[in-house]
């Protein structure tokens, strides 16, 4: 066991996976000499050289598009998009190429690749650096979407992502890169892609969150528990595939649910979860499913971002609201 921050865990895992498999290589902007703008790839170039740690020209579509070609031809590229907001540049190569190659070749070709990208607000970035865009990819069948919230999860999930036979988008909450340290096993281990984590059990209300939003959600849970509520907290960890079973099991037990995510509300992952509960557990719930989310605007400027991001106060308020709305 070693104490690691999330960024250290990611760096550690990349190194470990590259040592393990010669076909794993990483590519992206500033990931070599500079070690990545967040140091996720720090020092890797010294160990593995420029052949396996590739500083690419500044072109997102090319980073992903060439990774598709490599992956189909037997390499395991782990590509970095410097900030998730820049992923629009490469939407075609992800959603229309990587995600679809298996389907449109009737299973003949597939692109086992990982795309890592930092996202999340609360760190006062310039425009287009913080947006949470997971819903765009949930809507693009063929790609998996992983969003860890702890150093340990980041390690186990990144290993699993690299081993995965499908293209995986691995979204790293930059706000949590260095927010906490925890003991992480050094040994290689994988956390199953598509399995949510029941962070704590409770009986009154299910709170569902993931990635960056877990931080405020956890604070809210603490506050609520101090106020006498028994909260069941689920960290989804993976958006695609979605662990519907964990969601339904929990909601059937607590009969109430609040979803917290940092992305905008409209057509967000929260809407999907709410619809699933409606389809599969309607008669077990005693209050409408509520969502605490970002507002339906582009991610805002630094001076107002803390009002935009779901805060502990807003979460607490909505949980109390659900409680008041309950039929029983």
């Amino acid at each position: 066991m070693t104490e690691m921050t999330m960024i250290e865990a990611i760096n550690f895992t990349l190194r470990q996976e590259m040592e393990e498999d010669e076909n794993v290589l990483i590519l992206g902007e500033d990931i070599g000499r500079n070690g990545g703008v967040f140091r996720a790839t720090d020092g890797l170039i010294d160990t593995f050289g420029e052949r396996r740690v590739v500083d690419t020209p500044l072109a997102e579509s090319a980073i992903i598009g060439t990774a598709v070609g490599m992956a189909v031809r037997g390499l395991k590229p782990v590509a970095e998009i410097q900030f998730l907001g820049f992923i629009y540049e490469t939407m075609d190569q992800i959603a229309a190429q990587a995600a679809r190659i298996r389907f449109r070749s009737a299973g003949n070709y597939h692109a086992p690749m990982v795309i890592r990208a930092p996202y999340s607000g609360g760190v006062k970035t310039p425009e287009l650096h913080s947006d949470s865009l997971e819903a765009l990819f949930m809507h693009s069948a063929g790609i998996k979407v992983i969003m860890p919230s702890t150093p340990r999860d980041a390690k186990g999930l990144l290993s699993a992502a690299i081993a995965d036979p499908d293209p995986v988008l691995f979204l790293e909450p930059m706000k949590l890169y260095r927010a906490l340290r925890e003991n992480v096993e050094e040994k290689r281990f994988k956390i199953e892609v598509g399995k949510a984590n029941v962070v704590k059990e409770g009986s009154d209300i299910t709170l569902i969150s993931w990635g960056a939003a877990m931080a405020e959600t956890k604070k809210a849970v603490q506050m609520l528990e101090e106020n006498g509520y028994s909260i069941e907290l689920i960290d989804l960890r993976t958006i695609v595939p979605l662990d519907e079973e964990a969601i339904i099991d929990s909601v059937m037990k607590t009969s109430r649910c609040v979803i917290v995510h940092e992305a905008v509300k409209s057509a967000g992952v929260g809407a999907e979860i709410s619809a699933i509960i409606n389809e599969k557990a309607l008669f077990y719930i005693s209050a409408p499913v509520l969502r605490v989310t970002g507002y339906d605007s582009p991610y805002p400027v630094a001076t107002v971002e803390n009002d935009w991001i779901p805060s502990m106060d807003r979460i607490v308020r909505e949980v109390k609201h659900v409680w008041e709305l309950s039929l029983d």
Partner: protein, 354 residues
């Protein structure tokens, strides 16, 4: 002042076999291969004619004709090695045939069969619909070969329209920076649906765009199968040494963009005749006949055997049982997600969600 002016760049297309079927350049191609190239071109054209006819009869779906581009496609693909990979667009039937796609695969593709997406188990990417996207896949594939020190090149087949796309330029730039064994083979057929070359780009040539990336660029008469073949062979040996190449094959799309397109809306009959005289098959046949390598009788035999082959290929496609939606949904991820499993069951009518 040392301005770099576009008009100081000389671009002269390579031609070996002129429009009258006279060999004006040199060729290393053996007599046997001369005939092979011809047969592939004829097969591509016969397929094309048949596909258009079948589409008109409603027996296959939309089809993108290649007529006029046989020399560019066959000449280039014929120069490749066994292990090379090609990344075609929707118009590359001729190149794909040479590389091993069976005609029935293309019928299946045009009929919307699930397995029409497989042009070959290895070595040929599925048809690319997004203009230019395959330039990057070829680049990545070449990167994989370089990484694994495989002796192979990757070839991206794109049109003139694709050269306006960012992906095309990003691909060239990456290829040059990383010295990848890749060839970008542009069939400049003068049109991107209704937009002519001079509205696509203001450059005098596409070949010259290679200069900006410090890559080798070359323009070749794309209706001259011999020039295309020789150029591609040279490009291949450069690419294998990590010197990527941009080839512009000047050709002409003699037919409509696809079977749903009406070119009379945007192009005049005039200029067309001029291209008719440049027909790639006509000049090649004349050359073969002048060398006494080909006769009218052989021509008839060839056509008869192709006709038979294509008929069988179509029947095979027509008789192929359609895959179910359930089969198709099984190819989204390696293993269907729970949600997909549920949807497959629902579709099969045995799910719980009824």
């Amino acid at each position: 002042m040392n301005w770099i002016e576009p008009n100081s760049i000389d671009v002269n297309p390579i031609q070996q076999l002129n429009e009258q079927g006279v060999l004006t350049g040199e060729t290393s191609i053996s007599d046997e291969d001369k005939l092979e190239v011809y047969k592939w071109m004829v097969k591509a054209r016969r397929f094309d004619e048949l596909a258009v006819k079948l589409q008109r009869q409603g027996r296959i779906g939309t089809y993108a004709p290649l007529i006029g581009q046989e020399a560019a496609q066959v000449g280039s693909a014929f120069a490749l090695g066994e292990k090379d990979w090609i990344f075609p667009s929707y118009r590359e039937v001729g190149a794909c045939f040479v590389r091993g796609t069976s005609p029935s695969s293309f019928f299946k593709y045009a009929m919307g069969h699930l397995h029409g997406g497989i042009l070959k188990e290895e070595g040929i990417f599925p048809v690319q619909i997004i203009i230019g996207a395959q330039a990057l896949h070829a680049t990545g594939s070449a990167w994989a070969d370089q990484y694994k020190t495989n002796d192979a090149v990757s070839v991206a087949y794109v049109g003139d329209g694709a050269t306006s796309q960012g992906d095309f330029h990003e691909a060239l730039n990456f290829a040059s920076v990383f010295q990848l064994p890749v060839i970008y083979f542009v069939q400049n057929n003068q049109w991107a649906i209704s937009v002519p070359y001079d509205k696509q780009t203001n450059s005098q040539s596409i070949a010259q765009k290679a200069l900006a990336y410090d890559m080798t660029g070359v323009q070749v008469d794309g209706n001259d199968a011999i020039a295309v073949y020789e150029t591609m062979k040279q490009a291949r040996s450069l690419a294998r040494d990590g010197k990527p190449v941009l080839i512009e094959a000047l050709t002409h799309r003699m037919g409509p963009h696809t079977t749903s397109d009406d070119p009379s809306k945007y192009r005049a009959k005039e200029g067309e005749e001029e291209w008719g005289d440049k027909d790639p098959i006509f000049r090649y046949r004349k050359w073969l006949e002048d060398m006494q390598l080909w006769s009218e009788e052989e021509e008839q035999d060839l056509n008869a055997s192709i006709e038979e082959e294509l008929k069988q290929a179509f029947n095979e496609a027509a008789e192929t049982t359609t895959a179910s939606l359930g089969d198709a949904l099984g190819h989204v991820y390696e293993k269907p997600t729970n949600r997909l499993k549920e949807q497959i069951l629902e579709w099969e009518g045995s799910g719980e969600s009824k």
